[in-house]
Symmetry: D5
Subunit: 91 residues, 10 copies
């Protein structure tokens, strides 16, 4: 099933740049791996914010939480999850 | 998987009593049918409110929404759904 | 560009069923026409609510507003629009 | 009686890993001890968050507060408590 | 145990005065009966609002909800319940 | 007159334990002195939180503020004050 | 003592104009009577809203509530009361 | 000076179309008259909502409130006003 | 014109006392200078909070912002400004 | 198209003045460059706050986000973006 995940990132402004760059690089690699596997079909940047809106495919909340809590940025994120159902008007 | 559903009921105060009683009776019958089938393992009354907190078992959001939107009280309810994962401390 | 539109529907509970059915039928036809044209690439039901999350493609806010304000359900909807940019991790 | 406890954990990102691991290990041991005693019948992870929803059995608010304030993670938690009553539809 | 109940009353402005007076009279009689029995030790008016803050004594949430949901004004009230524990500084 | 004071304490988690213990001891002594003088007739612990709900007797807001701002924990507290009037149903 | 009262008026749009005019005229007469007596030293219109911010002088919350609940517009108002103390910088 | 006015319109869905059309026509004429006089330099539609964001020029809050409260749609609007100062980076 | 300014002060608890005392002394001197000039006609302490409600007289938002942003405590304050108009019931 | 951007700045109070001055100088230069190019047609200071309301012209959310995320103050800002459409009453 699909989950709508609104993720807001709050890195401490005083985190050393090298550390932040490393976390972001690992985040990107991890996310793109999931995307290639079809588990993370959509990610969009929220304009003006260090935030994204993602659509994630997972069998259930256990698989979803395992994916999200493994994100290198997870300790710095606020994530709101909304379960999505098929819409009767969808074609 | 399990979904945490916080349901708040807002019946119009001027709904005729017979109509309200009928909806509530159908709601109860419908809910108890799901409970007997193991799809609605927990329901608690929020003290002081016409509201409940429920734990519902559904294969996915499609099945969950089909169940919830068939509730006779659905047009009068505000429902907030939270997907639940297994907790690592659960025994 | 893409817009994230969170739409919540609030039909008056006392609207005659025939009137509600007519609005919903026209809403569905209108929405599906936009979907077939590629202007409304995604729509999902928010589980447990008479609400949807949609991704809409429009040249700009003028075109977006023209589409949304023509929805038969528009007078009964609360819509929150978030402009979406490409995410650097998107593949 | 039962209490619905929504617990959100906010560990400082710069807490040394050894210290965090120690607190979490003690938290888990403490919680599982209460679970085995039947005082903490349910705990679920809120998908995507370092948070849980728990159902706790306590004679009254004094016993509940004694349990919660003894949690090793208590100084880092935001807990919202909702008292639960039996629901008339419960079977 | 004690429960802190914040009650806000929202009577429809167009309710006939006789009906409102009747509900209020029954509310007062019912409340004072509970007060005389020691179940409702404190009630204060929130200055400037049709609202009160009450401290109610009940064995548990079941007894509390039975009391509150029997209030003649219950269908017109929004009630927030907070469970109270003994404070270590209380004398 | 009476004031309803909802107090939430937010001690920095990294405050040295000796310092925290000292502040709490002075807070308790100060509060109990006011209680013995009849100025602080009620204090309850909000279950699950480092917070209390208090009823304080003061001639006016000047006296109230003098009392509250002298609390040793005042710099770490968020206090919401609600003025209370006699309720017409009170006995 | 002084109370800061933020008052928001919500007259039903379909109230007959004569009825609304009558309530407003009585409201004005009542308010100005209190102003002349020195009980309502300040009233300002919140620009752009059918709302006001008032400073009211009352011996205590009982007198304040008696004044406010006697306002002809009281059933249509949402009033937030904040108790005011003397500021140490006031001259 | 300039005021930022965020206006949200909430016409009752059951208002007869002729009445709504008349109010909207008078609103448009009134607004455009102010625009031609330079008092209402900017108005934008908030995409997806029956709402606008306006920049209004007025000598002070008295003139602003006189303008806003004369809007034919004023009884159906929720308006939030923010006073604007010159920004040091403005050119 | 008049502006309603709700100011909340949030000094870091670990600011050295001498530094805090110095800022507060300069704040008081600065504020009282404006009061003597008639630019700051009212200031009240919000009971129970390190906060005040002030009424400030300024020709426009530019003058207001110049005054407020020069407050020694400005970097530690959260200020909400509401423009005030004359109320038709004011005498 | 136009975007309404509400920007709130939260510089850490303990940032060295030289560092803050440098960021602000670069912010001003960057912003004025965009203003001269016609991409940032309006910026106003929100009176009483370290905040601004800006109207920004961008082809789409990608261009907008590129501009905003390049602001030297971006890591210290909270930005809310609202897409603007032409208003039918605009002249």
């Amino acid at each position: 099933m699909l989950f709508h995940c609104a993720m807001e990132v709050r890195l401490p402004p005083d985190m050393p740049k090298a550390e932040a760059d490393d976390i972001k690089a690992r985040e990107k690699a991890y996310a793109q791996d999931l995307m290639r596997k079809g588990k993370w079909p959509h990610i969009w940047r929220v304009a003006g914010r260090y935030a994204n809106i993602s659509i994630i495919e997972a069998a259930d909340a256990d698989e979803l939480h395992a994916m999200l809590s493994s994100l290198p940025l997870f300790p710095y994120m606020d994530i709101e999850v909304t379960p999505l159902a098929r819409h009767p008007s969808a074609i």
